[in-house]
């Protein structure tokens, strides 16, 4: 009897899976799905873009077709098995049709497409942090393999010996999309800058008597053993009555160069009336882009209540500065884009791997666009000297930190488009015509992940390989080693 029931159940299951695609009315509306993966371009090696159908219906069938490959999934949550997804992407562009069963029978919704483009770097490293103001008890730097759903912790402040609230971690960065050289900062408890270089671990204190702070925003020199950093005195305050919850601002900032071989820091820019920030090298390593806000009268600026009150006056312009990596000499500074003249502020310049484009953030003021809902991505054509808003990528809410993939075909960027508070990571493909395709979130195993996840993503950075050192090794090193000092040397050239 028991066996008969088992056979019957098996038979029913097999029959059910053989059921054909239902006939019924045809709708000219595309189904409402979450996340919005309709008509996007995906990398051929991305994890399956699982989604949930938002339309109300009794039953759902989703048919994914690519060439001769066809995958049929029942239910509201469309979770595509990874192996089947691989078969689909390898067959070319994918057409997706959703069938919804309502009171009056099955309705075939208007199909939508997913075009398949070139591969993307497999790994994205980011910091996870719940939205907060001053506390940071639950921080971790994680690496996600975006070709599947595996994620691992690189380091979490819960691994510190003292309470997590005593240790902040930030600004992870990699050398040329590889992981044999990486760094991130640790603030307060056991503070210093952590380096993993060619199998060796070290921790340095990059604050010297001649610099205003420890190192902050990094940019690895692409050909030589240098890292450009900004030094920042950063503060943050709250908005009393605004959907943008807070403002982060610098009360002082400079640029420095860390020479890895000589273990020495030198000044790049430290003008009193300029707040320099966000350095980024061109791929040949001969030019450094950075942003800087000019303050006419620093004394006046501080006399009226400090930067918190006058942050709206800080407008960052884009500058470039030539550099000879062989002898570490600097050339003249050139104003590349006068954002202040357009009453706006340009931040986070990132030059594309081929050196022809520069992606940046444009907002009304200040240096911290994630907190400004109007912040948008803009792209400069470095050959033509033109720029444009990336309307095809931007939303009504904040777009901020962004990174190029090693091929320069893909970008990952942070955005608060979903709810204005929780930062999510979106991908977009740069077509040959210089336009980006519709952005989409990094796929998750559970389509509802983003709605349920109570952490924000910061500083997404692509790498082509996984990080080679384990969290436990980093933790024991970070928490048992004092930060070694660096020397200070004079700037050369100019």
């Amino acid at each position: 009897m028991k066996k008969s029931i088992q056979y019957l159940t098996l038979l029913l299951c097999l029959t059910a899976s053989c059921t054909g695609i239902p006939d019924g009315a045809v709708s000219d509306a595309t189904p409402s799905i979450y996340p919005d993966f309709t008509d996007i371009t995906v990398p051929s090696n991305i994890a399956s873009p699982n989604f949930m159908i938002e339309d109300d219906a009794d039953k759902y069938i989703t048919l994914l077709k690519s060439g001769d490959t066809q995958v049929r999934i029942s239910g509201r949550k469309v979770c595509i098995p990874l192996r089947k997804w691989r078969r689909l992407t390898s067959s070319g562009n994918i057409s997706i049709t959703v069938y919804e069963k309502k009171d009056n029978g099955w309705i075939k919704m208007k199909p939508f497409n997913m075009d398949v483009a070139s591969e993307i770097d497999s790994y994205v490293t980011y910091r996870l942090i719940p939205p907060s103001f001053q506390t940071y008890d639950r921080l971790s730097i994680n690496q996600r393999d975006i070709t599947n759903f595996k994620e691992k912790v690189i380091y979490a402040n819960s691994m510190a010996a003292a309470n997590a609230s005593d240790q902040c971690i930030n600004c992870h960065s990699f050398y040329n999309w590889r992981t044999d050289r990486m760094q991130f900062h640790i603030r307060q408890y056991n503070g210093g800058t952590f380096y993993y270089m060619d199998g060796k671990l070290s921790k340095l204190n990059l604050k010297t008597d001649s610099t205003i702070s420890a190192a902050v925003y990094p940019s690895w020199h692409p050909t030589h053993d240098y890292i450009a950093y900004s030094n920042n005195m950063t503060f943050q305050n709250i908005h009393t009555n605004h959907t943008d919850r807070m403002e982060a601002f610098d009360e002082e900032s400079d640029l420095v160069l860390y020479d890895i071989r000589n273990n020495a820091v030198s000044i790049i820019e430290n003008e009193n009336d300029e707040f320099e920030c966000h350095p980024n090298w061109t791929p040949d390593g001969k030019t450094l882009f950075y942003v800087s806000a000019h303050v006419d009268d620093p004394d006046w600026f501080y006399s009226i209540g400090g930067a918190s009150r006058r942050n709206d006056l800080l407008k960052y312009n884009l500058y470039s500065k030539s550099f000879n990596p062989e002898d570490k000499t600097w050339g003249k500074t050139v104003l590349y884009y006068d954002a202040a003249a357009a009453d706006s502020s340009l931040t986070w310049p990132r030059v594309s791997p081929d050196g022809t484009k520069l992606l940046a953030c444009l907002s009304s003021h200040g240096v911290f666009p994630p907190y400004q809902s109007e912040a948008d991505l803009v792209m400069f054509d470095l050959k033509k000297g033109t720029w444009r808003y990336l309307d095809e990528v931007n939303s009504d809410l904040a777009e901020s930190y962004h990174s190029w993939s090693s091929s320069g075909h893909w970008i990952v960027f942070s955005t608060r488009r979903e709810d204005g508070t929780y930062t999510r990571l979106y991908l977009s493909y740069l077509k040959d015509d210089g336009c980006f395709t519709k952005p989409f979130p990094i796929p998750q195993k559970d389509p509802e992940f983003s709605r349920k996840f109570m952490y924000s993503y910061n500083v997404p950075e692509f790498t082509i390989e996984p990080i080679k050192v384990s969290a436990r090794v980093i933790s024991s090193f970070v928490n048992s080693t004092d930060a070694a000092p660096v020397s200070f040397e004079q700037k050369r050239g100019e």
């Binding site: 309470n163 009555n241 959907t243 919850r245 942050n311 709605r451 933790s475």
Partner: protein
């Protein structure tokens, strides 16, 4: 007394042991319901697989999840207390049964339960610092897991099966219950060692258990993200001041030392009956004395909890009444003062009920220190309440997010974050929080009620509490900081420039803050704004008193122009007469020298309520 009678005494005492849980339940339910509710409000449990998976990333996460499941029942304090007491009783009775302890020493098994009660009920302000999910139920559930381990490992009698089972259960148990899993393995090994097994078997049990206890935390370290030194104690509740953690963990460790001794109880059978009587009596005394002595008693803390509860439930009328009741109780205690939390909540409640002008100085003022071991900022107690109800959503969000970062999401912070998102018209964000609350047992109805408000401005304007908050949001956004403290921030906010589109409610609140600042210039500005926008039929008593005092001091000609009540003039004369007799005095001295009717005037506040610490 012969030996037979002597033997009867401990048995008789043992029969009374059922009284203990009933008494504890009654005390918890009727004397400390606010504390239990506070535990529940600061926790969160939702029926959601995604959320559950978040607990799987470290040992003892599953036990924390179970603890949170039980914690939600504290929403109805008597029910939650009943569940807790039943679990405690089960832990004690099961210990007796599992270790076949004679009923003559039955109260010994109640000592760990007594320690758990003492641990939770001695917390007081510490409750605001506990950042371990499900800390309230965690020790007792851990204890039950440890007992289950002993029971399970007894089933494996053959040496090989026993070793395999110990290893598997040990590692699994550590993952499920952390410290408690290890304690269970240790107790099971002791249990086997004292059983009638052969010497080799005993030694083997102990060696395998020791290996599991040492190795399990080390092996799990590779897969998790916590600090090495906490690996063996993971699962014991902790708090944000981890430097002092060891002290906090000690009671739980002591309770488990008793547990580890339980397998040795068979040795007591050979003891003289007199000693048994002595042990039973001592255990009974300990079971009662441990919680009784350590129970946190502080009438200010208790009243604060009640006042906060009333504010959460928008029962504004109750808040001044609670403060009044306590003042009356403490009438003869010259050292008594309210805490700042009580004072600011009282002011907020008076504003919400429109009584601030007639009752603001009707209460004792003060800045009594919290009776606590670690500092608890006012913002961590009521930051979001103040921010939300004073129409400063940024402040409310700040403290909701800081709280969630430090202690994890709680029902309270989710509620307030949902409400501020609704105020801002951010439907997606409001839904994020409402969805979470919608999956709970006790807040789903509240969440359901809020959903129609998302994106419906008209409905928000007509619905409490939003109807009283929107008029306070008439000011231009400011970038500001509350690092100095919540009360100072509010003062600065309302004493700042008056908004161009000021509302009558905003003017009322500003006037209260102005009068409390003792700044005549600010008072007059706010006073005339208040008269202009509120157009009161009769000026409230305390505003008359302030105007009368300042007019007298400034001789500005307003004495004749403003309609002062005779009562105000008489009180002023009477105050002046008393004051000239008493002379300058400190706040505490003056309190005992002035009669109540003069103490509860603005004149008294102006001259004698000084140097208060505001936070």
């Amino acid at each position: 007394m012969n030996q037979k009678e002597e033997n009867k005494i401990p048995v008789l005492i043992s029969k009374t042991r059922w009284i203990l849980p009933i008494a504890v339940w009654a005390i918890l339910s009727f004397c400390t319901p606010q504390f239990l509710q506070k535990v529940e409000e600061r926790s969160f449990f939702e029926f959601d697989l995604f959320w559950f998976c978040g607990f799987l990333d470290k040992p003892s996460g599953i036990l924390s999840w179970c603890s949170l499941f039980f914690t939600q029942f504290l929403y109805i304090p008597w029910l939650g207390a009943l569940v807790w007491v039943l679990l405690l009783t089960l832990s004690a009775e099961l210990t007796r049964i599992v270790f076949r302890m004679p009923s003559q020493i039955s109260f010994c098994t109640y000592i760990p339960a007594a320690i758990f009660i003492a641990y939770n009920m001695s917390m007081g302000y510490m409750i605001y610092l506990m950042n371990h999910p499900g800390f309230f139920f965690l020790p007792v559930l851990g204890y039950l897991w440890a007992l289950l381990t002993v029971i399970a490992l007894r089933k494996a009698e053959k040496p090989v099966t026993s070793i395999v089972f110990t290893v598997i259960w040990g590692f699994a148990g550590y993952y499920v219950a952390g410290f408690y899993g290890l304690a269970g393995i240790a107790a099971a090994a002791i249990d086997k060692a004292v059983s009638k097994n052969k010497y080799r078997g005993r030694m083997l049990s102990l060696a395998v258990a020791a290996a599991v206890v040492i190795l399990a935390p080390i092996l799990f370290l590779g897969t998790t993200t916590y600090y090495l030194s906490t690996a063996w104690t993971i699962g014991i509740p902790d708090h944000v001041h981890s430097v002092s953690l060891e002290r906090l963990q000690l009671p739980i460790i002591i309770a488990f030392l008793f547990f580890l001794l339980a397998p040795l109880s068979g040795m007591l059978e050979k003891m003289a009956s007199k000693s048994i009587v002595y042990i039973q009596c001592t255990a009974l005394t300990a079971a009662i004395a441990i919680p009784a002595i350590s129970w946190y008693r502080d009438s200010n803390f208790k009243t604060e909890l009640k006042m906060i509860q009333a504010a959460e439930n928008l029962e504004w009328e109750n808040i001044p009444a609670l403060l009044n009741r306590l003042s009356t109780e403490k009438e003869n205690d010259s050292s008594w003062q309210p805490t700042r939390v009580m004072v600011v909540l009282k002011d907020l409640a008076l504003i919400k009920t429109g009584q601030e002008g007639n009752r603001a100085f009707d209460f004792e003022d003060g800045d009594k220190d919290q009776k606590r071991r670690w500092d608890v900022q006012m913002s961590m107690q009521i930051g979001w309440i103040m921010g939300f109800h004073y129409g400063i959503p940024g402040l409310c969000q700040r403290w909701c997010y800081e709280e969630s970062m430090l202690f994890g999401w709680s029902n309270t912070t989710l509620k307030y974050n949902a409400m501020t998102s609704i105020l801002f018209g951010n439907t997606e964000l409001a839904n994020k929080y409402l969805n979470k609350l919608g999956h709970t047992l006790f807040y789903n109805k509240w969440a359901k009620k809020q959903r129609p408000l998302c994106n419906d401005r008209n409905l928000i304007e007509k619905t409490a509490p939003y109807d009283q908050i929107l008029p306070l949001m008439c000011y231009d956004d400011l970038i500001s900081s509350d690092q100095e403290g919540c009360e100072i921030f509010l003062k600065r906010h309302f004493n700042g420039p008056s908004p161009q589109n000021s509302t009558p409610l905003y003017d009322r609140v500003s006037l209260l803050f102005a009068i409390k600042s003792k700044d005549p210039t600010l008072f007059w500005t706010r006073f005339f704004l208040y008269l202009d926008s509120n157009n009161p039929e009769k000026i409230d008593r305390y505003y008359q008193e302030a105007a009368y005092l300042y007019s007298n001091l400034e001789n500005n000609g307003l004495l004749e122009a403003l309609p002062f009540d005779d009562q105000v003039k008489k009180l002023y004369d009477s105050f002046k007469a008393t004051s000239s007799k008493i002379g300058p005095k400190s706040m505490n001295e003056a309190r005992n020298l002035f009669p109540a009717n003069l103490r509860h005037t603005f004149f008294y506040y102006y001259y004698y309520v000084n140097n208060l610490n505001v936070f």
